[in-house]
Amino acid sequence: MMRFSTLIKNPADWMTGGQAEHGAVLTSRIRLARNLRRHPFPGWAKREQRALALELMRPSVEALTVMKDAFSQELGDLSSVQKQVLVERHLVSREHAARGEGSAAIIERRQSFSFMLNEEDHLRMQAIRPGLQLSSAYAALTALDTELEATLEFAFDPTLGYLTTCPTNLGTGLRASVMLHLPGLVLSDQIGQVLQAVGKIGLAVRGLYGEGTESLGHLYQISNQSSLGESEETIIRRLERVIGQVAQHEQNAREKLVEDDPEMVADKIGRAYGVLRHAHIIDSKEALNHLSLLRLGGMLGFFPADTIILCDTLLMDIQPAHLQLHSARKLSPEERDAIRAQIVRTRLQNLKSSDTSTPSADGPPSSPEPANPTDES
């Protein structure tokens, strides 16, 4: 069985193995919710009933070929920092992490698939891929789902489809979501318009908003809201089409920004770099927003192409639990801000200083587009 330290040591495949298909698309995630027939849902089940369901599901999931040598742990056996790290990596939900005995997480070695056992639903399975790859992520996950059907009897109703604890997940049990990095649309004040259009066709846009319109790190997640009444393929196809359009808008916005106001763009990116390179105390909000601009700088060619991977890895590594894991002890928020700043400074040390005189909206050639670790799925 894989150890926690081994699992977490390396960045997930989807964090570094991205495609450059669409600069704005970081990760694609598919989640399927399934429940066992004749077993009460985890939130309503008594302790023994929950344990029984877990006993039933765990061997089936572990037996999946793709889960060979996977990480498999009951949540009660993990420390709170370890659980939090899994949350920051998007391998388990925050709700799941809050659970202990009777719930388990089974995570594929490369962190591309994760299974939450006894979350809100008996089984929540997830596939994450870098870039815009919803269809292939779904194909991979539905194959695992079908494989599980051979040994597990899932609750299904011909009219309501797969039955879930919360009625918002009925039907396909599918949530397809894409994480987008949209600094161009934010800087050009078009983000509201674009997101509103997306919302009009029944897709949900998420992100924690401040009082303004900017989300943290210019990261937005778009996902399907409805799971009943349309097939998986229809849901995914629509989402992919919309995401393609949003990514195109983002690309256009970046090009236009550089064309219209290169000084402003250079100034913002240069200042972000300056703060990150020299700050000694930085909270995660400030760090995320500056890293977003630095990432944009990488995409516009202000910085070398590997800046993008650098930013994406940093986005994950500066999260609170990752910092505590790194320091091997509990940290106060003040200590975290200091260590965060130190890590960022160190990592940026070898980054070639910003020369913002000749930005190009096309970005560097053949830059790998890594998945973004702050996928707010």
């Binding site: 079908t146 059907e149 009897e153 797969y162 919302g199 029944g202 409805s226 998986e232």
Partner: protein, 171 residues
């Protein structure tokens, strides 16, 4: 601005676009944490609004958007399989088991209209179940053909159909 759930000052502002409508929720730190709002991984505004939706449709929450313990206990409908009550549904806005969907079918129908594109499932069906449904359908067809054959005194055909039925139902 005040928190939508208590009297404290709101510090978390959440906006989602749901079916073309901008839905906004303001929360204080404590309520945000309690409701998992600070965790974008597991949070859907729909969950928060669910109380509101069912409230609007009446009956389910007794008009109480926050889903507090309203209505009259005791008279509450109960799921025969797991003992979950309509009261529990109001409180947690979740179901107790798969059978609850049968037990509360009437109450669920109006709720789903505000939530999903359609009211009946399109898409993947568990493979075992599909085989079962197919078998069921086939048996029905065969039985009605058998009746017709017998009625028409076509005993040779009836015998053939009976054999086919026997292959579908291992005795």
């Amino acid at each position: 601005m005040k928190c939508d759930f208590c009297e404290s000052k709101a510090s978390v502002f959440l906006t989602q676009l749901v079916e073309g409508q901008v839905k906004k929720v303001s929360l204080c730190d404590t309520c945000a944490k309690e409701r998992g709002v600070t965790d974008p991984t597991g949070f859907s505004l729909a969950d928060l609004l669910l109380g509101g939706i069912t409230g609007e449709l009446g009956g389910l929450t007794g008009g109480q958007a926050s889903g507090t313990l309203g209505g009259t206990a005791g008279s509450s409908k109960t799921c025969p399989a797991c003992g979950f009550t309509l009261e529990d549904l109001r409180r947690v806005r979740r179901f107790g088991c798969a059978e609850c969907y049968t037990a509360f079918r009437e109450e669920i129908a109006p709720m789903l209209r505000g939530m999903h594109k359609g009211a009946s499932h399109v898409g993947k069906v568990p493979e075992g179940l599909m085989a079962l449904q197919f078998k069921h359908q086939r048996l029905q067809d065969l039985r009605s053909r058998l009746e017709q054959a017998v009625a028409a005194e076509n005993y040779e055909e009836a015998a053939g159909i009976r054999d086919e039925i026997h292959t579908l139902i291992p005795s």
